[in-house]
Symmetry: C2
Subunit: 226 residues, 2 copies
């Protein structure tokens, strides 16, 4: 049993916290304003459940501030909106981040121009930004290439015959994340190398978003074929 | 039998011209300076054969200027370096482009910063740029997501069980290209919609380049799994 801290209460945070709980892990969920989040009865974005009812269904998940969730957790999951993620981590006390694994499932999507853009372009990435801003955290990029439903139930598409890419600078951290992904049901986990590989994993979202639009579903993934 | 004009003499142009010839098509190859290209005895980039010896092995492929190749061909393949492609097409007489299919296999890669970047970013693409600059051409984006070897021999990886994405504004042109891809050995061709989907297909190159580096081979592809 590991104490996981899920940073973000949206559809991705809810999915991952649910999965971790169902696997018997201790799970905390971080948010900016606990009282506001707890009273949220409206539907969230991208199919997120109203947080009040989600929390009622998950009584063992403790909702707290980002800082308190980070302090109480051994492994962190960045499920906050990509452009906000640095600020989310900055709200932690530095010593509470020390040597912790941060699984970054975020995407730095920017729709300000009316079109999908990537905040860091393709010569940088959210994963690298987090690693650079918080050098004592062990960032592992993972799961950002599929929808929340597929992240936690890879068997729901193609009988699970597809690939999870991961990237990060710390081999031991990647081993931990690989084991976690296997426990989620992933069977083909491919290590792309250091955290700079997050560029490719995030750039892929441009293809993913078009495929979702054209095929009318987010229940898909890709398999690396060699 | 269709007259194909392959624009570019590098590894991609050589591979596609070779394949088209082996399938019995009439093939022209376009270059900037015919005399200079014909006398090229040094190895090309990315494993391209010295052009002089390649031409000797392919006596039925006629090397000509870009303009003359375009004039003589029914279907064009853009196998020029992405950042040069607009200039290559501009060298044609406008009436020689009218209503022709242009299969754009190019990638607008920019290494000027020392890192892989995309000239148009991810809110535009080479495919869209060509369609915008040459509105009377029917641009179909295809094959840019794999190496030259895989383009023409998809069975060489994963027994051919992977996906070719295509995009373009003209359905009839996409049908022609799909038929051509089947003749190359592709079995799973997925239409992503209009030419703006080229953004995702080109952005994917950032992931592709890292995978090639990490796995030490360009003999791979991805399969869309639903």
């Amino acid at each position: 049993m590991t104490a996981y801290g899920v940073l973000g209460t949206g559809v991705v945070g809810q999915a991952i916290a649910h999965k971790l709980t169902s696997l018997g892990h201790e799970v905390g969920m971080g948010t900016r304003d606990v009282a506001a989040a707890r009273s949220r009865t409206e539907q969230g974005q991208a199919g997120a459940q109203p947080l009040a009812s989600w929390l009622a269904e998950h009584p063992h998940v403790e909702l707290a501030t980002f800082a308190d969730t980070i302090a109480a957790s051994e492994i962190l999951i960045n499920a906050s909106a990509g452009p906000a993620s640095v600020e989310v981590l900055r709200s932690a006390r530095m010593e509470d981040l020390e040597n912790k694994i941060l699984i970054d499932v975020g995407n730095p999507l920017d729709f300000a121009s009316g079109q999908l853009d990537l905040v860091p372009g393709v010569t940088d990435s959210l994963g690298e930004t987090l690693q650079r801003e918080f050098p004592n955290v062990r960032v592992v990029k993972a799961l950002n290439m599929v929808s929340a439903s597929v992240m936690i139930d890879p068997g729901a598409v193609g009988a699970g015959e597809h690939t999870a890419f991961i990237a990060g600078n710390h081999d031991a951290a990647k081993t931990v994340v690989t084991t976690l992904l296997f426990s989620f049901g992933w069977r083909d986990v491919r290590d792309l190398g250091d955290i700079a590989a997050a560029r490719g994993m995030e750039a892929y979202l441009v293809l993913w978003a078009r495929a979702r639009e054209t095929f009318g579903t987010s229940m898909f993934s890709v398999k690396l074929v060699v």
